[in-house]
C-alpha cells in the first residue's frame, strides 16, 4: 500500500504545482491582470457567479489565455506520459513519444495540408493526426513478422521511416513558396491561436488513453524485466506491446496534431521523474504526465512573455537540453 500513498502524495503535490503555474501564467501577457482577478474569473467560470473584474479582463483570461494554457497542459501531459511508456517499452533511455514515426507522420500530413493549393477548414490538425497514425502503423507492420514485433526492429524501422518522411517534408518545403513560413512555424511547435474546441478534442483523446495506460502500468513494470520473463509471469507480451504502442501513439498524435512538433518534453520529463520517484510505472506515469503538463505551461508562458512570441518548441528544447546534459554529467540519468 505504500506505493499508493506515495503516488497520492506526489499527484496532489504536482496538481498543486500545475494549478499554481496555470494561475501565474494567466496573469502574464500584454495586458496586466492581477493574480486575484485571475482567480476570481476562473472561480466564477467554474462555480458560476460574477467575477470581481472588468469584462475585458474576463474575455482575455477565458477566451485567449486559458484555452492556450489548458491545451498546453494537455499536450505536455500527453507527451510526457507517452514518453515514459516508450522509454519503458523500448528499455531505452533515448526513446521518446515520436520514436515510431508519429511526429514525422504528423509533420508530413500537416505540411501537405499547408502547401496544398486548396484550403479546407480544420484540414491541418486532421491531416497531422491521420499522418501520425499512418506512420506509426506502417512502422509497426514493417517491424512485425510472424505475429511478433521485436522492439529492436521496431526502433530501427522507426528511425528509417522518420528519415524517409523527413525527406518528404523537405521536398514539400522546397516547393512551398508563400506557405513556407507557416509550415516552418508549425514544425517548430506552437500553442498560439488555441481554442477551447481544440483543447476539448485533445482532452477527449488524451484522458481516456492515459487511463488505459495507467491500467497497464503493472504490466509495463514486468515488461522491464524482459519479454521472456514477462511471458513467464503471465503477461500476454505481444498483445500488451500492441496496446501500449497504439495508445501512446494516439496520445502523441493528438498532441502533435494540435501543437506541432514539440521536442524534449517527452524525453526529459520522464527521466527527471524516474530520478525522483523510481522506475515503478504506477507512480512514474501519473507524475510524469502532471509534471509534463506543468512544464509545458511554464515554458509556453516564457515563449509568449517576450516582445516577439517564440514557438514553444524552441523554448522546451533550449531549456530541456542543457538540463538533460546536466543530469547526464552528474550520472543521474539511467536506463529505465
Amino acid at each position: 500500500m505504500r506505493t499508493s500513498v506515495r503516488t497520492g502524495a506526489w499527484v496532489v503535490g504536482l496538481l498543486g504545482a500545475l494549478v499554481a503555474v496555470t494561475l501565474a501564467s494567466a496573469t502574464i501577457g500584454p495586458v496586466d491582470i492581477g493574480a486575484k482577478s485571475v482567480a476570481d474569473i476562473v472561480l466564477a467560470a467554474v462555480f458560476g457567479g460574477t467575477a470581481n473584474a472588468p469584462e475585458s479582463s474576463r474575455t482575455i483570461v477565458m477566451s485567449i489565455r486559458l484555452p492556450r494554457i489548458v491545451l498546453g497542459a494537455i499536450v505536455g501531459f500527453a507527451l510526457a506520459s507517452a514518453g515514459a511508456v516508450m522509454q519503458g517499452f523500448f528499455r531505452n533511455p533515448m526513446a521518446d513519444p515520436s520514436i515510431v514515426g508519429v511526429s514525422a507522420g504528423a509533420a508530413t500530413g500537416a505540411v501537405a495540408a499547408i502547401v496544398a493549393p486548396v484550403v479546407v477548414p480544420v484540414a491541418l490538425p486532421v491531416a497531422a493526426f491521420v499522418g501520425a497514425l499512418v506512420a506509426a502503423f506502417g512502422v509497426y507492420v514493417l517491424a512485425s513478422e510472424g505475429g511478433r514485433t521485436p522492439v529492436q526492429t521496431l526502433l530501427l524501422a522507426g528511425i528509417a521511416v522518420q528519415t524517409f518522411l523527413g525527406a518528404v517534408v523537405s521536398f514539400m518545403l522546397i516547393g512551398a513558396g508563400r506557405d513556407l513560413r507557416e509550415a516552418i512555424y508549425w514544425l517548430m511547435g506552437h500553442l498560439h491561436h488555441s481554442t477551447w474546441t481544440e483543447a476539448g478534442v485533445a482532452a477527449a483523446v488524451v484522458l481516456p488513453g492515459f487511463l488505459g495506460l495507467l491500467v497497464y502500468a503493472r504490466d509495463l513494470n514486468v515488461l522491464l524485466l524482459g519479454e521472456e520473463d514477462a511471458h513467464s509471469l503471465g503477461i500476454e507480451v505481444e498483445r500488451t506491446k500492441r496496446l501500449l504502442l497504439t495508445v501512446s501513439s494516439l496520445l502523441t498524435a493528438a498532441a502533435v496534431a494540435v501543437a506541432g512538433v514539440i521536442g524534449f518534453v517527452g524525453l526529459v520529463v520522464p527521466h527527471v521523474m524516474r530520478l525522483l520517484v523510481g522506475p515503478d510505472h504506477r507512480i512514474l506515469l501519473p507524475t510524469s504526465a502532471l509534471a509534463g503538463a506543468a512544464f509545458l505551461v511554464a515554458t509556453d508562458t516564457v515563449a509568449r512573455a517576450g516582445a516577439a512570441e517564440l514557438p514553444v518548441g524552441i523554448v522546451t528544447a533550449a531549456v530541456g537540453a542543457p538540463f538533460f546534459l546536466y543530469l547526464l554529467r552528474k550520472r543521474e540519468v539511467r536506463t529505465p
Binding site: V215, L225, S232, G234, I235, D280, R334, T335
Partner: protein, 428 residues
Amino acid sequence: MTPAIEVDGVSVTLGGAAVLDSVSTSVDEGRLVGLVGPNGAGKTTLLRTINGVLDPDRGSVRVDGRDVATLDSRATSRLVATVPQSTASTFDFPVRRIVEMGRTPHIGRFGTRTAADRDAVDEAMDRAAVSHLADRPVTAVSGGERQRVFLARALAQDTPVLLLDEPTSDLDVNHQVRTLDLVADLVDEGRTVVAAIHDLDLAARYCDELRLLHDGRIRAAGPPESVLTDDTVEAAFGARATVTTHPVTGSASVTAFADDASATGERTATVHVIGGGGAATPLLHHLDAAGFDLSVGAVSTDDADAETARTLDADLVTVPPYAPVDDEARDAVAERARRADAVVVADVTVAPGNCPNLDAVLDTDTPHVVVDGRPIRTRNVAGARGRRLVSRLRDRGAVVDADGVVAAVRGAVDRDVDRRPAETDPRP
C-alpha cells in the same frame, strides 16, 4: 498418474539450426530432474518450450495434462515458474518489488495485493535468504544475490512446476549447496523441478533423475549413476572422463580431461622419466596433467619419486633400498626408454649406483630432455664417469629448465612422430 510434464516429439529450429530434434521425455510429479549436456545442447531451449516462451515447430508439451500451446500465458504462469539464467538488469526496482512481480499471475488487472500475496512474498524472500536485501535496488546487489532474488520471485509465483536455468552458475560454493538444498525441500513438498545444471557433480548429487542432452537430442535418461558413465560423458562432452563415486556424498562424480589426443587423432604419447631422491616428483605431476602416459625408473622402492609414480599409476621400475641399479633393472629401463616417445632426465644426484640409468638412455635413440637444475658439480658423486654421462646427455638432448619440460617433451614427441615412419634419420 499423469506425469507433471510430458514432452512429446518436440522439435525446435532457431535461426535455421535444429536446436531440439524430436525430444520426448516426461517428468513425474514431485521429482527433481536435471538437464545436463554441453553448451549448445538445447537445455535452455527445452526449458523455454516447457514454459511456453517458445512454440515448438513439431510436437507438444503438456504440463499437468494441459497442452501449453493452447494455454494463454496467464494460465501457463500459474503452472510453471522460471528462474532465468541471465538476470542482468539495468532498472533499479527494489528487490521486494521484483519478488512481488512473482504474484502477477494471481492478481487481476484491477485487483490489489492481498494479505495472502504479501505473506507469499515474505515467505519466498525468507526461504531464498534475500529478506535482508528487500529495500536494496536490484542493480546494487551481487550477481549471486540477484540469482536468489529471481528464485524468490519464482517461489512467490507459487506454481506446481519450477524450471531453473543454471540456478547456481553465479553462486559461491556455500550458496550453491544452500540453493540446491532449498530446491530439494521444494521437491519434498511435492513440487516438480526441472533444472539445467552444468556442474555434473552437483547434478548427480541433487537430482532424482538426469536427462543428458547432446546436439538437440536426449542421449541418456534415468538415475544419475546410469546417465553419467565414462562413455556417455565422453560422447556428449568430447572429453575423456572418469566417473567415480564421490567419497563424501556417495553420488557420481565426474573428472574430465580435455581430450587433445582424440581431437587430433593421435595416440597418447609415452614418456619415460629418470628420477630419484624426489627430483622428478614435480615433473611427473606436470607431465601427467599434460596427458602423457608415464614410466619411471629405476628408483629405490621407497623413493619419493616411486611414491609419486604409484599415485599417478605410472609404470615403475624399482630396485631395493640402497641397492645399485643392476643389469635386470638397467634392461627394464632401456626397454621403456626405447618404447617411449621421449625421455626426461631429472636433475638427480648422479652416483655410481644409478649411472646405469643414464647409460640405458644413451643406448637408445629416443629423443630426450635434460632438466637443467642444480649444477652437475654439486650433484655428482660418481666422479669422471658421472661428468661424462651427463655431458653426453646434454650434448645429444634438449636442455631446459624445470618450467620448460612439458613444452620440450611435446616438441620431442612431435619430432619423434615425424621421424618414426621413415626410420631413416641417422642419429649421431
